[in-house]
């Protein structure tokens, strides 16, 4: 077992792992009790496990815990306190942009990173930006509307 110290949601957390390749997703969910990031495929194909790493939306199933050390990690729980949703979260709530909601974590965080880079995206830029995030319930229309709303274009 070796210790890994992570900067998660503004705090420092140290965990023990026997495998430096343990994906950050399992550390967040199992060791830190942060379950917003979901296991969807373990292959980096679907986006359900997305977290922000130094501001970029990354797949935590593909990021080894040893590579996460020293980076600033934000999970959906850490984006905003429950009583004060982040504008992207407020927009998703206003548009009821979820059905089962299993993909929602990845949608919100990918949209957040997208808007940080491009505060006024076109609809096409949004759909391209979310192209690698899968939703099975078919909530796409609302998710796009939510991102437009968060960008002040809703």
């Amino acid at each position: 077992m070796a210790p890994y110290t992570l900067l998660v949601n503004g705090g420092t957390r140290t965990i023990e792992a026997d495998d430096p390749a343990k994906p950050l997703l399992y550390v967040l969910r199992g060791d830190l009790g942060l379950t917003a990031a979901k296991f969807g495929c373990g292959l980096g194909q679907c986006g359900a496990c997305t977290v922000l790493v130094d501001g970029a939306a990354l797949r935590s199933c593909q990021l080894a815990v040893s590579d996460a050390v020293g980076k600033t990690i934000t999970t959906l729980e850490g984006l905003a306190p429950p009583e004060h949703p982040h504008p992207v979260q407020a927009a998703f709530i206003a548009e009821a942009a979820a059905q089962c909601g299993y993909c929602t974590n990845g949608m919100v965080l990918t949209a957040k990173a997208l808007l940080d880079q491009n505060p006024h995206p076109t609809r096409a830029e949004i759909t391209d930006g979310l192209a690698d995030n899968l939703c099975r319930c078919g909530t796409h229309t609302r998710i796009v509307r939510a991102v437009l709303r968060a960008a002040g274009q809703g």
């Binding site: 296991f39 373990g42 949703p85 009821a96 059905q99 089962c100 909601g101 299993y102 899968l134 229309t141």
Partner: protein
């Protein structure tokens, strides 16, 4: 609040990785959740089965139907609160807990509102009638002058302003109502609805968006282990040897072998994942699957249990005697629920009792199955619903629950099992393949004179208690064998006036891969064939597709959605196909369904462009008019309809389970692609308001016409009829090439 609902609410609201050290009652406690300890009935014929009134004016509602991300969680509250004269925030809703909620049947077939909600609404109406009756005596006023509002019975508006009310608590105290549900108890007048018909927000959405919603995937118990199952390389293969040394480097892993069932458990989830991945085992034998490229001929050659006429009217000789018969064959592949999150469950099995947290659509039904294979009396087995990843019928959730139960029993500790991606794509029960031959004749005026459908479908096993589960099957535990895929033979005949109609099902004894019900079971493929072929006939007759359908319809609600969808879309009447033009071809199509010939009316128009070079179809616009009677929550309903449209476009354009001799080979999102954001069309939905009609389901009907409208639009664009799903670019290119040749 009663003790139990409160404790479960606390549990669910706790967020994060919930550790349950309190609040989960024993089974004995669970049988009585009144503060006084009086036993609460689970009888669905009793008001007390569904409702518990509390001293603070709040009400607990116990629903056997569950919210699968569909909006039922708010819709049930709206229906109950409306009758009870309280706000939706005064209702605590308990869903799908076999110890607390009556058995209302599985949450399937779009019955959540239509049956589950209606049943609870009638319980609420019965309670209201009874409470008013009790208060009438107390207040010495006629019942007709009283109403139940905000937790008390008081004179209706217009009465003396100073008339005192009487609280529900003072009327019934801690007692149960002890009343059978009165089917005749009056419902409130829909014209006065305050809550029903409003787009009230779904309570789960903020929790999901803030990352605090507790899915079954996020649920944990003290001492819980993480389990993974190793499935065989071929269906029903026998497990020969397990090489324990292959995982020697991993700490604290336990291998669980029960006959051909092979699993691992570990304290740490990543350790369990690694162990399952590394564990070496040898297997032998197994079932063989047909050759994929011969799937439809294999279906045609499958042994038939019996033939059954769904419809037989008029004179079959009219079709057979005609010299101008139009015929076509439509084919629908095997498809997966392909839930975004692999199935998961947590089980805590002791020698005396079993508690299973599951995303099952059918906790009551599977309680009996679990009791049987765990060899426990049913009353010692409790299944508790927690939200899972979206399922559209029975996906892998019930199998994962059985896996967890087998392993928890083996190790004597709670076990959480989550499937891996390849497990879900490979082993979830599938939507079966469908094959339909259709033929018809037209008269000189372009009217359909005779129609015949032959469909090849797997026969549901009579009396099958549940679809057999993988874990018990591998473990050699006896289960009733058989198959079921839902009511898949509906909508195999046209909804239009045709004098001579035959629709025959060749019920097959078997189908490749274990089937289950998948969204709008059977009816998407059936409507694809019926409405695709209707479009073919319209083209032969040289009649505009909307006009052709309109001529065959007499039901005003059907005519209404057809007209409204055409208007919403901006439909320009002309026969298909569209005149040829240069560049990407554009087309539009329409399809109509009267769901099950007895439920929703849906018409759906669609615009596409087809690139003849790449074969790519792009859906640009969808307009849907939808009549499901009384609408409980318009926005939640629209969300469901949008989902039905997008998901079915995905199924029509992309989805086909692939397999080899032994097993499924489309094991991830690369092998089983689904629709992505850049393909998203603009979707407009029109809800027909029929507040005096009974409420019908929202989850399925809009899916039924989607693939037909898509095929019809593609035909309009390029003059080529696609009759085999999915409409991949390769398939479109091949069809174009074939026409050229």
């Amino acid at each position: 609040m009663t003790a139990l609902p409160l404790s479960r609410r606390m549990l669910l609201k706790a967020g994060g990785a919930v550790i349950v050290s309190f609040g989960i009652p024993s089974l004995a406690q669970a049988a009585s959740n009144q503060p006084t300890g009086a036993p609460r009935t689970l009888d669905p014929a009793q008001v007390d089965g569904f409702l518990a009134f509390h001293a603070d004016g709040t009400v607990s509602v116990f629903s056997g139907k569950v919210d699968l991300g569909t909006g039922l969680r708010i819709a049930i509250r709206q229906m109950a609160a409306e009758e009870l004269g309280i706000g939706v925030d005064q209702i605590a809703l308990i869903e799908g807990d076999t110890a607390l909620t009556p058995d209302q049947g599985p949450t399937a077939g779009s019955t959540g509102v239509a049956r589950g909600g209606v049943q609870i609404r009638q319980a609420a109406a019965t309670a209201r009638q009874a409470l008013i009756g009790l208060a009438a005596g107390r207040l010495k006023r006629p019942a007709g002058e009283l109403d139940l509002i905000a937790g008390e019975v008081r004179p209706v508006a217009g009465g003396p302003a100073d008339s005192p009310g009487v609280t529900v608590a003072s009327l019934i105290g801690d007692r149960l109502l002890d009343l059978p549900i009165d089917a005749k108890a009056p419902l409130r007048d829909p014209d006065g609805y305050k809550l029903v018909g409003q787009s009230l927000p779904r309570p789960d959405v903020p929790e999901k968006v803030m990352g605090r919603h507790v899915y079954v995937h996020d649920f944990s118990l003290p001492g819980m282990l993480h389990g993974r199952v190793i499935r065989p390389p071929a269906i029903d293969a026998r497990l020969e040897t397990v090489d324990e040394t292959s995982i020697a480097g991993l700490n604290g892993v336990r291998i669980i072998r029960i006959k051909d069932f092979l699993g691992v458990v570990a304290e740490d989830e990543w350790t369990a994942v690694r162990a399952a991945d590394r564990l070496k085992a040898t297997w032998s034998g197994g079932q063989h699957l047909p050759v994929q490229s011969d799937l439809y001929s294999a279906i045609r050659g499958t042994a038939v249990a019996r033939d059954a006429a769904v419809v037989s009217k008029g004179d079959p000789a009219v079709l057979r005697g005609s010299s101008q018969i139009h015929t076509a064959t439509y084919q629908w592949p095997i498809q997966s629920h392909a839930s975004l999150g692999p199935s998961c469950a947590v089980a805590d099995i002791t020698p005396d009792e079993a508690t299973i947290w599951t995303a099952s659509q059918s906790t009551h039904r599977f309680r009996l199955a679990f009791a049987k294979f765990l060899d426990l009396p049913a009353e010692r087995v409790r299944l508790i619903y927690l939200d899972g990843s979206g399922c559209y019928g029975m996906n892998g959730h019930d199998d994962a629950a059985a896996d967890a139960a087998l392993m928890s029993r083996a190790v004597g500790r709670p076990v959480r099992v989550q499937w891996m991606r390849a497990d879900e794509h490979g082993w979830d029960p599938k939507g079966p393949p469908q094959l339909l031959d259709v033929s018809a004749t037209l008269d000189s005026e372009g009217r359909i004179t005779a129609w015949r459908t032959e469909a090849w479908l797997p026969l549901a096993t009579a009396g099958l208690p549940n679809i057999p589960l993988l874990g018990p099957q591998a473990a050699g535990i006896g289960q009733v064998q058989g198959l079921s895929a839902g009511l898949i033979d509906q909508n195999t005949d046209p909804p239009y006036a045709v004098a001579n109609v035959e629709a025959t099902i060749h019920w097959l004894k078997s189908t490749p891969l274990r089937p289950s019900n998948i969204r709008a079971p059977g009816k998407i493929a059936n409507t694809f064939a019926i409405e695709g072929f209707t479009d073919e006939l319209a083209a032969v007759a040289g009649v505009d597709p909307v006009e052709f359908r309109r001529r065959g319809l007499s039901d005003p609600r059907g005519l209404d959605v057809l007209r409204r969808a055409a208007t919403l879309f901006g439909w320009e009447p002309r026969p298909s196909p569209a005149p040829a033009r240069n560049g990407p071809a554009e087309g539009r199509g329409i399809a109509y369904v009267h769901y099950k010939h007895s439920e929703n009316y849906v018409a759906l128009a669609m615009a596409v462009t087809v690139d003849p070079k790449s074969g790519a179809i792009r859906v640009t616009r969808v307009a849907c008019s939808h009549d499901c009677g009384l609408v409980i929550n318009p926005d939640a309903l629209k969300n469901q309809i949008e989902g039905a449209i997008v998901q079915t476009l995905s199924r029509g354009l992309h989805e086909e389970v692939t397999f080899d001799h032994d097993r499924v080979t489309s094991l991830d999102w690369a092998g089983y692609p689904i629709l992505t954001f850049p393909e998203l069309p603009e979707i407009t939905i029109d809800l027909v308001e029929r507040r005096h009609e009974p409420p019908l389901g929202g989850g399925e009907a809009a899916a039924a016409p989607v693939a037909a409208a898509l095929a019809n639009a593609v035909f309009d664009a390029i003059g080529i009829r696609l009759r085999t799903v999915p409409f991949t670019p390769d398939r479109v290119k091949a069809a174009i090439k074939e026409r050229g040749a």
